[in-house]
């Protein structure tokens, strides 16, 4: 048994961290947010081939598996990077399509290196529940999918429709009058959301995932959100420890007060537990272990809550400055709160766990 990362994984993590500092620093993210245009980050993700991490080389990816993907998302969280395109695209649409024979190749051909395909599900629910409010007749899809991550700007929508106990995957190109995407404004401005209205939209059915495959695909998304929240929490704790070490009151750094130290220590306890859960789940999903899906739920439920607790501890320890727009903490704080709900709340995953535990 070995828990530690190998050398290549550590090098990958360091390389991503350095690239994010260089190309997606907080000053840049703030500029993108002010301009309401996150596309420079999309270009950065493509330029650094991050979209290919965790994607097999024969599918045009960079190789690596769920551990590498989780490491990348932890770094994206640490940088509070606008990672939605990686989550809804590489993690979501491709993560679903890759489970069909030839699905990934098909998606790649359709997108032709230009477009962006995103997973078209309500982002407040686990993705394996699919797009519940959509009907299909004669190859045309109708209905509304609310709060779709990264829908604005997508060229193609991968719509999973519940069918029996599985999901039919439909690919719907955006651009025609039969697809209407209405952007939603979120308090976390580093992610794009939109309501998707399909009116007799022409789609191509590319295949079907059974319940197990759909759960596996969703588990990876849950894992990536968990890993990102872990990164958010680590960065917020770092920022906080630095701040309280400099902030002087009563003639001493406030970091010397026990109440302050204890709050920081409790955040670290949360963070290390989240780390254990995230990377075990990543390994178990990669290796196809029977408990991989359950552990992804555990990681999602715990890490996103731990990040929210860390966010509130960080806010309190920063004092009033942390409550301002001007201070960077707000970016991390709001992302942590959003990730809590993204692709399934802790409550929804705990209910799934309770089902597995067969309590009655």
């Amino acid at each position: 048994m070995r828990f530690a990362f190998n050398e290549e994984q550590e090098m990958l993590r360091d390389a991503i961290r350095v690239a994010l500092q260089r190309e997606a620093g907080l000053d840049k993210i703030r500029r993108w947010v002010d301009a309401a245009d996150l596309s420079p980050f999309d270009a950065c993700a493509v330029g650094n081939a991050w979209v290919g991490i965790g994607v097999a080389e024969e599918l045009g990816g960079q190789g690596g598996g769920r551990v590498e993907q989780a490491l990348m998302f932890e770094e994206l969280g640490r940088a509070v990077a606008p990672s939605g395109v990686l989550l809804a695209g590489a993690g979501g649409a491709l993560g679903f399509a890759v489970r069909l024979p030839g699905g990934a190749e098909f998606l790649r051909e359709v997108l032709d290196g230009e477009g962006t395909g995103v997973l078209c599900v309500p982002a407040g629910r686990p993705a394996d529940e699919g797009a519940l409010q959509v009907q299909v007749a004669g190859g045309r899809l109708s209905g509304v999918i609310p709060m779709v991550l990264e829908a604005p700007g997508a060229s193609h929508l991968l719509v999973p429709l519940p069918s029996g106990d599985g999901l039919d995957l439909w690919l719907v190109p955006d651009g025609g009058s039969d697809v209407d995407i209405k952007p939603r404004r979120m308090i976390d401005r580093t992610r794009r959301f939109g309501d998707v209205r399909l009116q007799q939209a022409k789609g191509i059915r590319i295949g079907r995932l059974d319940r197990g495959a759909a759960q596996d695909a969703n588990a990876v998304i849950a894992l990536l959100v968990a890993a990102e929240s872990l990164g958010l929490a680590r960065r917020m704790l770092d920022m906080t420890v630095e701040y309280v070490g400099q902030r002087v009151q009563f003639g001493v750094p406030v970091a010397s007060f026990q109440a302050v130290k204890h709050a920081a220590a409790e955040a670290l306890v949360d963070i290390e537990a989240a780390h254990s859960g995230v990377y075990y789940a990543a390994w178990a999903l990669q290796e196809g272990q029977a408990d991989g899906v359950l552990h992804a739920w555990i990681a999602k439920a715990f890490a996103t809550e731990a990040a929210v607790r860390t966010a509130d501890r960080a806010l309190l320890l920063h004092g009033a400055i942390g409550y301002t727009w001007e201070h960077d903490l707000q970016l991390f704080y709001k992302r942590a709160k959003l990730n809590l709900e993204l692709f399934g709340s802790p409550r929804s995953y705990r209910e799934r766990m309770a089902e597995v535990l067969a309590l009655h």
Partner: protein, 390 residues
């Protein structure tokens, strides 16, 4: 990253499992009273010793097996699984023995180590005093040279198993040096006139720990461990072994969760419906299950670091803080399921229920022992996060 047992570890697990499956069922039930339990446990420990399972991770030259910490952990996992007796030699085999291996003289090693492994000698730890708890360096027990050794005078407290121990590891003041500079580390024979062990009743009524009054107790000259006045450094090794033991889990939380789930399955709510249908109960159980899983994974992470010879990382410092409230909350939730019947005198309760009550109280003890929760947070903040001392 790979969580599977390596081939040799998997083979070891299989051998251990088979051995335990044939041996454990031959044991009778454990007596409740500690003195009787010790006599019941000794032949079991002897069998472990003869089978080569005592002191697994100790070096071969000291009677151990020289096994990896991973195999030691596998052995304990299998013991839990097989329902093997609780270890009564944790202080000897877990803390005192490794401390002697690290700091003891050749003669001390020859004389004491083997008898720890055979179960012949039980040990206790005489560190805390009425005036020296979290601030251990404030201890006042004195060791005065008395010709062929030292005369010990003072009072120790919160000493588990002192009433059954043959030997103690003892911290006493030998010099006038400031605080931790004047402290020495000794081995004290417990069965002698100057040692008076008085049981301390705990809040639940039982007496697992003791006060120990030392009034002219004698330590022979060859039982000083480490340098005279250098006891603090030795004690820090001992406390390190203690923390590692707590961190990697002396309570089997997986089994606790299984038992909690069984309790919920057997219980109906006030509305007559199965309790396991109640949304709050489902959420709470899943939350405890989540934390139990993470606690166990963190234990594996710590072991994996130790197995590679690395210094324990931040996860080792956080583990006690993560584990103690978890055990408290699992037990408290079980007691809330049981309801007011769970507040009965434990001796009058069904033993399966009384277990929750005892463990709920014991867990409070664990949050104080081996560095209280507040002290652990200070350590984490100062040593891991680098925050300034106050």
């Amino acid at each position: 990253m790979d969580f599977r047992d390596a081939a040799e570890d998997a083979a070891f697990r299989e051998t251990v499992r088979a051995w335990l499956e044939s041996e454990v069922p031959r044991l009778g039930p454990a007596p409740d009273k500690l003195e009787e339990r010790v006599e019941w446990w000794r032949p079991w420990q002897r069998r472990l010793y003869e089978a080569g399972y005592a002191g697994l991770a100790w070096p071969r030259e000291y009677g151990g097996r020289g096994a990896s910490v991973l195999q030691q952990a596998i052995f304990y996992e299998e013991c839990d699984r097989a329902g093997a007796p609780d270890r009564l030699d944790v202080i000897g085999a877990g803390f005192a023995g490794p401390t002697l291996i690290e700091h003891g003289t050749a003669a001390q090693k020859t004389r004491f180590l083997d008898r720890i492994l055979t179960g012949e000698d039980l040990w206790c730890q005489l560190f805390s005093e009425p005036g020296a708890g979290s601030d251990l360096a404030a201890l006042a027990t004195r060791a005065t040279p008395d010709g062929d050794g030292w005369r010990i005078d003072g009072q120790k407290v919160w000493t588990s198993a002192a009433q059954v121990a043959e030997y103690a590891i003892l911290l006493a003041r030998t010099g006038e040096g400031e605080r931790h500079r004047g402290i020495s580390f000794f081995i004290l024979p417990m069965r002698q006139p100057g040692v008076d062990v008085r049981p301390l009743r705990q809040m639940l009524g039982g007496a697992e720990f003791n006060e120990v009054f030392l009034d002219g107790a004698h330590v022979p000259g060859d039982l000083l461990v480490g340098q005279l006045g250098g006891g603090w450094k030795v004690a820090m090794s001992t406390l390190g072994y203690e923390r590692a033991a707590i961190a990697t889990g002396r309570v089997n939380t997986l089994r606790l969760l299984d038992e909690l789930i069984a309790l919920v399955r057997d219980t109906r709510g006030a509305d007559g419906l199965p309790l396991g249908q109640d949304a709050f109960v489902r959420q709470r159980l899943a939350e405890l299950y989540t934390r139990m899983t993470l606690q166990r994974l963190t234990g594996k992470r710590i072991l994996s670091t130790l197995a590679e010879g690395g210094a324990p990382g931040p996860e080792a410092s956080t583990a006690k803080l993560f584990t103690t409230p978890l055990v408290e909350e699992i037990c408290d939730f079980a007691l809330s399921v049981i309801g007011i019947e769970g507040q009965e005198e434990p001796a009058d309760m069904d033993p399966a229920r009384a277990k929750w009550l005892r463990l709920a109280y014991q867990a409070r003890g664990t949050s104080i022992a081996g560095g209280t929760t507040f002290i652990q947070r200070n350590i984490l903040a100062e040593r891991v996060l680098g925050m300034p001392r106050d």
